[in-house]
Symmetry: C2
Amino acid sequence: MSVTLKDVAEAARVSISTASRALGGGGLASERTQQRLIRIARELGYRPNPIARGLKTGQSRLVGLLIHNLTNASFQVIAEVVQARLKALNYQMLLCLAGDDPQQEHDTLNTLADHRVDGLIVVPTGRNGAQLTALADKLPIVCLVRRDNDTDLETVLADDPQGAYIGTRYLIELGHQRIGLIVGRGDTTSGRERLSGYVRALREAGIPLDETLVHAGHFEPETGSASCRKLLDLAEPPSAIFVANHEATLGALRVTAERGLSIPDNLSLLCYEDMPWFAWHRPAISIVDNGARDLANLAVDRLLNRMDAKGQGADGVREYRVGARLIKRGSCKPYVSPIRPSISRSAAKA
Amino acid sequence: MSVTLKDVAEAARVSISTASRALGGGGLASERTQQRLIRIARELGYRPNPIARGLKTGQSRLVGLLIHNLTNASFQVIAEVVQARLKALNYQMLLCLAGDDPQQEHDTLNTLADHRVDGLIVVPTGRNGAQLTALADKLPIVCLVRRDNDTDLETVLADDPQGAYIGTRYLIELGHQRIGLIVGRGDTTSGRERLSGYVRALREAGIPLDETLVHAGHFEPETGSASCRKLLDLAEPPSAIFVANHEATLGALRVTAERGLSIPDNLSLLCYEDMPWFAWHRPAISIVDNGARDLANLAVDRLLNRMDAKGQGADGVREYRVGARLIKRGSCKPYVSPIRPSISRSAAKA
DNA sequence: TAGCGTTTTGCAATCGTTTCCAGTCTATTG
DNA sequence: CAATAGACTGGAAACGATTGCAAAACGCTA
């Protein structure tokens, strides 16, 4: 089929081992033969077979990235960054999508292990802790965005408590008192942490927590629409909604559009995690940016670090946080007390 | 390290070859030993090593997907579909992003070949035809979305001439005569074909082609903003714009927002290729849907077909087209002749 | 029970590398 | 000039599977 090391060795009239050493670098061959073999290899168009090499060395030059989907904007960014960084180092990315489903995650982890990936970045569901722990004995693993509580793995997280805090505080500073929160499930790191940030900001401002204003649900647009409807149907609806569940954003947006609510005049809207089109939307949507790009970069850094360290014992397992930033655009504005319909109508007539 | 076939064989007190045959299925071992070995393998937690297998068989159970990026919504869908379909068949997807750059594409193709992928789906830049042709001798390749004119590969394309045609005709039927077109570069299949569909619709309607209304450019938001500005600055600006360059959509949207144009009242806007948020945007954006999901599915079908056929000679290389559909939402409306500013002002005063 | 055909099994080669272990060659030193 | 260290090189054994070939075991029939 293709040119093998043997062909190169024969062409150069040396043994296979010499050829291997010359091309493998490391100065294990004399300068002269090395140059000669590199030349011959190039002439012949030799390309080492990573499978054969992998069999011998146990390395595949493959790195797994296991995420939930590619719909979530943060995951897109993460996938792009990871693949770009790895390619530069001559690794290939094995992208796996397991849709936040423990069973799929389990299977995928097995497959990844089978393929002898040299490293793994995973957004864990949190239900396969034991498997992850076992896997971590064999290869470097970095958890991203979510922590798996059953494991003790290096983890890169967004600073969700802080992000939700600064977002909520921003709304409070604008004068909002009744702030609706649409957030992720309580059994996820981000769900819990964002809720905690919201609660803390409220508490610090001396605003009592109103349970009816908080909706936690699945990471789906439907969550957003359902929650948004319930919030707006409240006897005393919120003047601002903080959609801290990224996937729910579309749903929330749909409902406000359906009801003809003008944002930010009738309702202030603050979302979490940027999407490219948020900036072009009318009004441009203000967000708490979780720093997906930096998260991915840091995860890659940590992974490479571990891969280089190459199993140097039970080294310090750390947790990293990437801070969130508030990006003010046009979807939030200072609170104005609502004018009652009757008054409003007469005012308009005046 | 892990459990190998040898371990299983020893535990079962048979030779390695027997173990291999028993586990490999195909009835090459007696029913009894087969059952026994399957049981023992399971008990031991044996998982075959795909690398070793790959070395012998030349198969990797890896399939490459080479696309430009993950920002483009169609590519997201394609990546999700391909990975889901492949996983179900126990293949892994090697996702590569080459950003429409011939050099990166070239390198990536090499790497993919090195890793002995069993098949490849590629959105070609069109500049590495020779390499693709050479590669096609060794493994099944399906081109997607773009054709590489220098090759003769199985290709799955969107029906862009038709898509652009129905889109343009829709606008014409709404009464628009001056229709701006923002389209992709002329050296891409989609760029040329969408332009041709636009031209045909115009011709059939007896509307002369006005070159100043057509802008072809790179697949970037900037193209959209620059082109949109030029169109709107025309002495006689278009009453509708057809953004047939997906990436340019955001740019066009930004400009219309900047200028405070109300869509569809001041301008009808029709875009190409759906994005999830188009439906939630205000107004919801009408589009020509290129059928990304079906494109991906068909590409996978064709690839699997070729992989099964396993080099059955120079079998019929076909080109497939997936038809486009018009999805009417709220961003286009019937043409009304513009009221001159002076008249408008006096009319308002009246 | 011998002879024959059919399963079923084991041996060993192979895939393309890497790497250990000796062996060869050169150069240096006493 | 002989001895010896050091640098290079070649042979061969891995890595973990698959697979052609031949031997063994089996079931039949005569």
